[in-house]
């Protein structure tokens, strides 16, 4: 069995983004980069399938710059993936979900994967589209937001979260699944496994290597707006509660313009 796990390196959720005003590009210097937490569920699920036995190969697939290799090594190869594919193409800078999905589909098509696992979304762009688009481009069945997975002979049964309950879905393999929190508890890489990951291959390629023309983005980020700065707290001081309330109402109405 061959499993592909599509991952993305994202800024750490505690990253403090500094913006002085609206901008078309974020200043990313000093960002700490980590594996997208939802992708960690996908990696862990693949590793659990491998550990359950049988001949399983896990390939981590990603798009990004050279620096993504750290994430591939520590969070994929050191926790049990066998090898990694990195599409490092400067022309993909600014690529949108559709373009990313096109490239991923092209890479995944080169090999015959029985199962493709993705996180439900990445915590930076938060669009939740890429996995599903890849499935569509590859003509595969997909199940999104899974919280439980069982594999049968050429089939799978997945649980997915729906409002107020769960849905149990079956599908045939090959298939693409997007993974949700609750699916498993991702492990940390152990120190010896980090050392062993040094020996596992990371293959780097460009769109040209894939025989693919760089797909044009269908959407473009026009502007990032910082949230409005919080003004200083104004304390209404008056010993007479009724007068204080009147003053507060006046301020809310005339200055804050919220009532």
């Amino acid at each position: 069995m061959k499993i592909a796990v599509c991952i993305k390196q994202v800024p750490d959720s505690e990253t403090r983004i500094k913006m002085s005003g609206p901008t078309t590009e974020l200043d990313q210097t000093g960002f700490t980069r980590v594996l997208n937490p939802y992708d960690a569920y996908a990696v862990e699920e693949a590793v659990k399938i491998k550990e359950a036995g049988g001949d399983v190969e896990i390939v981590a697939v990603t798009i990004g710059p050279e620096t993504v290799k750290e994430t591939l090594k520590k969070d994929c190869l050191a926790v049990g993936c066998d090898r990694a594919l990195l599409i490092d193409d400067p022309a993909l800078q600014g690529a949108d979900e559709a373009a990313i999905a096109t490239v991923l589909a092209a890479v995944l098509q080169k090999d015959s994967f029985d199962l493709i696992l993705c996180g439900i979304k990445s915590i930076d762009d938060d669009s939740g589209q890429v996995g599903i688009m890849v499935a569509e481009k590859l003509g595969l069945p997909h199940v999104s937001t899974i919280t439980h997975l069982e594999l049968g002979d050429g089939t799978l049964t997945a649980h997915r979260e729906i409002e107020g309950g769960k849905e149990i879905v079956t599908a045939s393999l090959p298939a693409l699944l997007t993974c949700q929190k609750g699916l498993n508890e991702p492990r940390l890489p152990s120190l010896p496994n980090i050392m062993k990951a040094n020996m596992k291959p990371i293959e780097t390629m460009t769109c040209a290597d894939l025989g693919l023309e760089v797909p044009a983005a269908k959407t473009k980020i026009k502007m990032y707006h910082p949230p409005a700065a919080r003004g200083a707290c104004k304390l209404v001081e008056n010993d007479d509660p009724a007068a204080a309330a009147r003053e507060l109402a006046r301020l809310l109405n005339e200055e804050a313009k919220v009532i």
């Binding site: 520590k74 050191a78 940390l188 890489p189 152990s190 120190l191 010896p192 980090i194 050392m195």
Partner: protein, 596 residues
């Protein structure tokens, strides 16, 4: 960086070191950075959920399960050679793991007892059979160990132990009797590395099965801090230990004990650097949120001064710790790794740097004491309450200055070892001291001041500090001769001068290395801290040296030396408030220790 012909401990005083030859935290490899991240993640995931139970309810038995979890992550493997199920990591890696383990609080002590002092005696002094038998299981925590040196009647004077061992008539066993106390992990350990005197006089190491008949584990000590770490006494009554469990050589237990302490010292240095960083992490955000007199605390000069002082001490301590790691790793790298006695030889290399190990132990634990003290103060009433971790750091920190050799004992070791090396000719200390003495008592030379280069002024001060060391320790050695070892105040003051010199030089070399690698601007934060630190240190050195001189010579001789000293220690004051402000600004912005 192994360019110098076999550098030896204490040699930094007698020669110039090139910035590119020192190891700095900026030199960590990708693997090392990943290890560090893994330890941080381990603490968040495994320790944080049991923090309350461990630290505030004092459930010491949790340590057992936590050790198993740490073992799954490979966190007990770093010190064990690859051939016995470990990773055989270099000292820089081991120290980085210790630094990151600091956030695990009491578990850091538990971890150190298992993977450090409880394991290393076998790594360094065990026979092939002992290594094969114990080390793989110690790496996986299938066997839990501890280390017993201290007794009710012998602490710093470890060799005065009263525990005895007597060979049985059939020559198959030793019978051990005595009591060991303050033994970390004793509450659940299954074996112990223990020292006893064969026939009452030959101090020797043993591996003792704690399940053996005659072993009693005492109640948990009610300690001031590290309340989640198990600490009990172990009493031995006619405990039979197979002769195969003798560790090292008969009568050579002191070799094990002192060398293991050395390792404990450099690890503690690293872990207290981690502690200093934690103080900043848990106080600086508070100083931004807390408003008084209409502004956040971090706007006030006296709070900024505290942040800057703690940060500068952290930076200097960190520079010393990892410079020492580099010295140890370079020295060990000169050995043949395939040699059968590689591990034994490597501990001898560590021993050669016992001066540095003692310095980083004393300096970093005292930096942590300062950090905890100022951290509590910055938090005010909240610092006194358990809602914030500072209350705990303040208690936990205290023992760092007591264990692994008290800071007093370590201060005696620093000049003591230098004199020992001077006497054996290993360090040409006395010759250098004589030259400086002539300079000091001679006529001053005047040089034209030019426009100083980056960090040049600090470099000159550091070079002068070295001369001060040579002058005062050399003079004390000359005047007191054999009696110098009894002049504890003189020795302690000399130790402080030596330590300040190593501290300043380590930070200075690191700053120069950074600026050479990434341009002067990249090292501005380091340069501010170093400028602040070196000037402050030079003032301290001046006072310490005067005290040593006054305790050593008198009359005209004293006046001549003091005049010479004044020339060496002379420096224009720096605008400390401005430096404090600049240093604090970076930390306040980042809300944690940073060098950017």
């Amino acid at each position: 960086m192994a360019d110098q012909k076999n550098p030896t401990g204490g040699e930094f005083l007698l020669r110039e070191t090139a910035p590119q030859d020192v190891f700095t935290p900026e030199d960590f490899s990708e693997n090392q950075r990943m290890f560090a991240q893994t330890v941080e993640d381990f603490v968040i995931r495994t320790i944080e959920p049991v923090r309350e139970e461990l630290e505030y309810k004092g459930n010491t038995m949790l340590g057992k399960d936590l050790l198993k979890k740490a073992a799954e992550m490979g966190l007990l493997m770093a010190d064990i050679p690859e051939a016995y199920g470990g990773m055989g990591s270099d000292k820089a890696t081991i120290m980085l793991i210790s630094e990151k383990m600091a956030e695990s609080g009491s578990f850091a002590v538990t971890h150190g007892a298992q993977s450090g002092i409880g394991t290393l005696p076998i790594v360094y002094f065990g026979t092939e059979e002992q290594k094969k038998h114990y080390l793989p299981r110690l790496a996986t925590a299938d066997l839990l160990t501890c280390y017993a040196l201290t007794e009710p009647g012998s602490g710093s004077d470890a060799l005065a132990a009263a525990t005895t061992a007597k060979l049985t008539d059939d020559g198959k066993h030793y019978v051990l009797n005595g009591t060991k106390q303050y033994i970390s992990n004793a509450g659940y350990a299954e074996m112990v590395i223990l020292f006893a005197k064969i026939d009452g006089d030959k101090f020797t190491g043993f591996i003792v099965d704690l399940g053996a008949e005659g072993v009693t584990i005492g109640a948990e000590e009610k300690k001031m801090g590290f309340k989640g770490s198990s600490t009990c006494a172990i009493t031995l009554e006619d405990v039979k230990v197979p002769v195969e469990n003798l560790l090292g050589e008969v009568g050579k237990g002191h070799r094990i004990a002192f060398n293991i302490l050395n390792v404990g010292r450099f690890k503690l240095g690293a872990s207290t650097v981690g502690g200093c960083k934690l103080v900043l992490k848990h106080t600086v955000p508070y100083t931004k949120q807390r408003h008084q007199f209409g502004q956040p605390l971090c706007n006030f000069g006296l709070i900024r001064r505290k942040i800057a002082e703690v940060t500068a001490h952290t930076f200097v301590a960190e520079s010393m710790v990892y410079r020492t790691a580099g010295l140890l790793d370079d020295a060990i790298a000169t050995l043949d790794k395939s040699a059968a006695d590689f591990d034994y030889q490597s501990i001898q290399k560590v021993e050669d740097f016992s001066i540095e190990c003692s310095m980083i132990k004393v300096f970093a634990t005292e930096a942590m004491a300062l950090a905890a003290e100022e951290g509590v103060q910055m938090l005010g009433g909240y610092g006194y309450c358990q809602e914030y971790p500072l209350e705990r750091y303040y208690r936990d920190e205290r023992v760092n200055r007591i264990f692994e050799g008290t800071n007093e004992i370590n201060r005696m070791i620093i000049p003591g070892m230098i004199m020992k090396k001077a006497m054996t000719g290993e360090l040409p200390f006395l010759q250098a001291a004589q030259a400086v003495a002539q300079e000091l008592t001679g006529l001053p030379s005047f040089s034209e001041p030019g426009e100083p280069e980056f960090m040049e002024e600090e470099g000159k001060l550091i070079a002068n500090m070295k001369k001060v060391v040579l002058a005062v320790l050399g003079l004390a050695a000359q005047k007191f001769g054999q009696d110098l070892k009894n002049q504890q105040e003189v020795l302690a003051d000399c130790a402080d001068i030596i330590m300040q010199t190593y501290a300043c030089e380590s930070g200075w070399l690191r700053t120069l290395k950074k600026s050479a690698a990434d341009g002067g601007d990249s090292a501005l934060a380091m340069a501010d801290m170093l400028t602040l630190y070196v000037h402050e240190a030079m003032d301290k050195v001046g006072i310490l040296a005067r005290n040593v001189l006054a305790a050593t010579v008198e009359g005209d001789e004293l006046r001549t030396y003091v005049a010479g000293l004044r020339r060496l220690a002379k420096h224009d004051p720096v605008n400390r408030a401005k430096l404090h402000d600049a240093i604090a600004a970076r930390i306040i912005d980042a809300e944690c220790y940073t060098l950017k």
